[in-house]
């Protein structure tokens, strides 16, 4: 693998839902300013792994984790780490866009307000900058007071991306961000990912293998809770090292 700066280092991560082990001994380096795609059949552990990167699994009962996820040199599972503070730096975008039932402006300003920014001018700046970064500004700038729920599905998803960007994260986790969108809206999200990776590190879970091929720099193939192969995307989709990966990407199983 090419050398790059490591943003998140996962070491021997194991995770159980009650008795059932969902992740088995995963070690993987996520590189800065790269897009890493997680692929694999349903139930392979890819979404669980994604959620483990900002402790979203804490919210599920009976989840037990072993191993380390090092972010900025600190294991995020250390007791000293504040999960809310962590999720500010490691933001998440979900499959179904979930804007708050508030105005577009309030959706984006919500996070910064929680983190103590009250000054109107600063908030205005953050809202504009975040909407621009999410490639949504030109489409909504004329009426920011419009409800976040009144815009199209693709726009709502970009609004959620703007909301995540507003708190100035370093890593953005995306869980099937385009699976509920039409091809045009999907293509906009994919283009946006190319823009965002210049400033952020992105990890994306996708069922759409072609999407992983198009947008990512690195691809990790998961199967039954294990990491089967992790390599440069180009390599995974042209000459994978492991037969199992080859069978999955060529659609021969899974």
């Amino acid at each position: 693998m090419e050398n790059g700066q490591i943003r998140i280092q996962v070491k021997s991560l194991n995770l159980w839902y009650g008795e059932k082990q969902a992740l088995e001994n995963i070690s993987l380096d996520i590189l800065t300013n790269q897009v890493t795609a997680l692929i694999g059949p349903s139930g392979c552990g890819k979404s669980t792994f994604l959620r483990a990167l900002n402790r979203m699994n804490d919210l599920i009962e009976n989840v037990r984790t072993e191993g380390e996820v090092l972010f900025e040199g600190i294991n995020i599972y250390d007791k000293s780490v504040d999960a809310v503070e962590l999720r500010k730096k490691v933001g998440m975008i979900f499959q179904k866009s979930n804007p708050f039932p508030k105005s577009i402006y309030e959706n984006v300003a919500y996070g910064p307000k929680i983190y103590g920014i009250r000054d109107k001018k600063s908030l205005d700046e953050i809202v504009e900058k975040s909407l621009r970064q999410a490639a949504l500004w030109d489409e909504v700038k004329d009426d920011l007071s419009k409800s976040g729920l009144s815009i199209s599905g693709g726009q709502q998803q970009r609004l959620c991306i703007a909301r995540a960007l507003a708190v100035d994260p370093e890593v953005i986790l995306m869980d099937e961000p385009a699976s509920a969108l039409d091809p045009i809206a999907t293509s906009k999200i994919e283009e946006l990912i190319f823009e965002l990776k210049k400033q952020y590190t992105i990890v994306i879970v996708t069922h759409n293998m072609q999407q992983a091929a198009r947008v990512s720099d690195y691809t990790a193939f998961f199967y039954m809770g294990e990491l089967v192969e992790y390599d440069i995307t180009r390599k995974i989709f042209t000459t994978p090292s492991i037969k199992h990966t080859e069978e999955y990407v060529t659609g021969r199983f899974g």
Binding site: S187, K188, E190, E191, A213, R234, T238
Partner: protein, 221 residues
């Protein structure tokens, strides 16, 4: 819409244009070496072939990545398929330029003839055909590509005349045998370059207009 993909297609085109210009330069050098008996140029052609070969591999890899990662369709797919064939075509033209350069060197070792027979005429036409084939690709100009197709017959005729003329020459003077055989080799290589330039033009028409013109496919439908 998909700007990133368009940039990748653009960079494939750029590197293919680079390949085209290196190959064209090599053909022109081989032909100049032939007409002006320039040993240095002939050697340069042979040395330059490694550059062409490495560009071919670079383009192959770029095409494999685009096919595997971008799932191209319609005009994008036609462009990539055309690019793959043109890449292969250019590499073969490069091989023929080397063959000509080797013949140039052989000719210099033996007593050359006063006349190159039809070769100077072939050279003028082939240089033009190759240039137009490459330009039609760069400019996506199917009309220009069509003129390349129409010129190929001239080369075929000249190549046939060459064979007849060389046979006459050999009959009249047996000392010209080595020279005559080299001229036949050169004529044959020139004719191949013209054919491959025609293939390039056909690929341009396929890409630009989604028409298959090779093997008179349209007339047969």
């Amino acid at each position: 819409m998909n700007r990133h993909f368009e940039l990748e297609l653009e960079s494939l085109k750029t590197i293919l244009i680079k390949m085209g210009s290196v190959v064209e330069e090599n053909v022109n050098n081989a032909l100049q070496a032939l007409l002006e008996h320039e040993t240095g140029l002939a050697h340069k052609v042979i040395e330059n072939e490694t550059r062409i070969n490495s560009l071919e591999i670079e383009i192959d890899n770029a095409i494999i990545d685009l096919l595997a990662l971008q799932q191209p369709v319609a005009s994008d797919l036609r462009f990539i398929i055309a690019a793959q064939k043109i890449n292969n075509d250019l590499e073969r033209i490069g091989d023929h330029a080397v063959n000509i350069a080797e013949s140039d060197l052989n000719l210099l070792k033996i007593k050359p003839l006063d006349s190159m027979l039809e070769i100077p005429k072939m050279v003028v036409t082939i240089k033009l055909m190759l240039h137009q084939a490459l330009d039609s690709f760069i400019l996506v100009d199917p009309k220009m590509a069509q003129t390349v197709l129409e010129t190929d017959d001239q080369i075929d005729n000249l190549n046939r005349s060459m064979a007849t003329e060389v046979i006459e020459l050999l009959k009249s003077d047996k000392k010209t045998i080595e020279c005559g055989l080299e001229l036949i080799r050169i004529s044959r290589n020139l004719e191949r370059i013209a054919d491959i330039a025609t293939n390039i033009a056909e690929e341009v028409i396929f890409y630009a207009q989604a028409r298959v013109v090779k093997h008179h496919a349209e007339e047969k439908r």
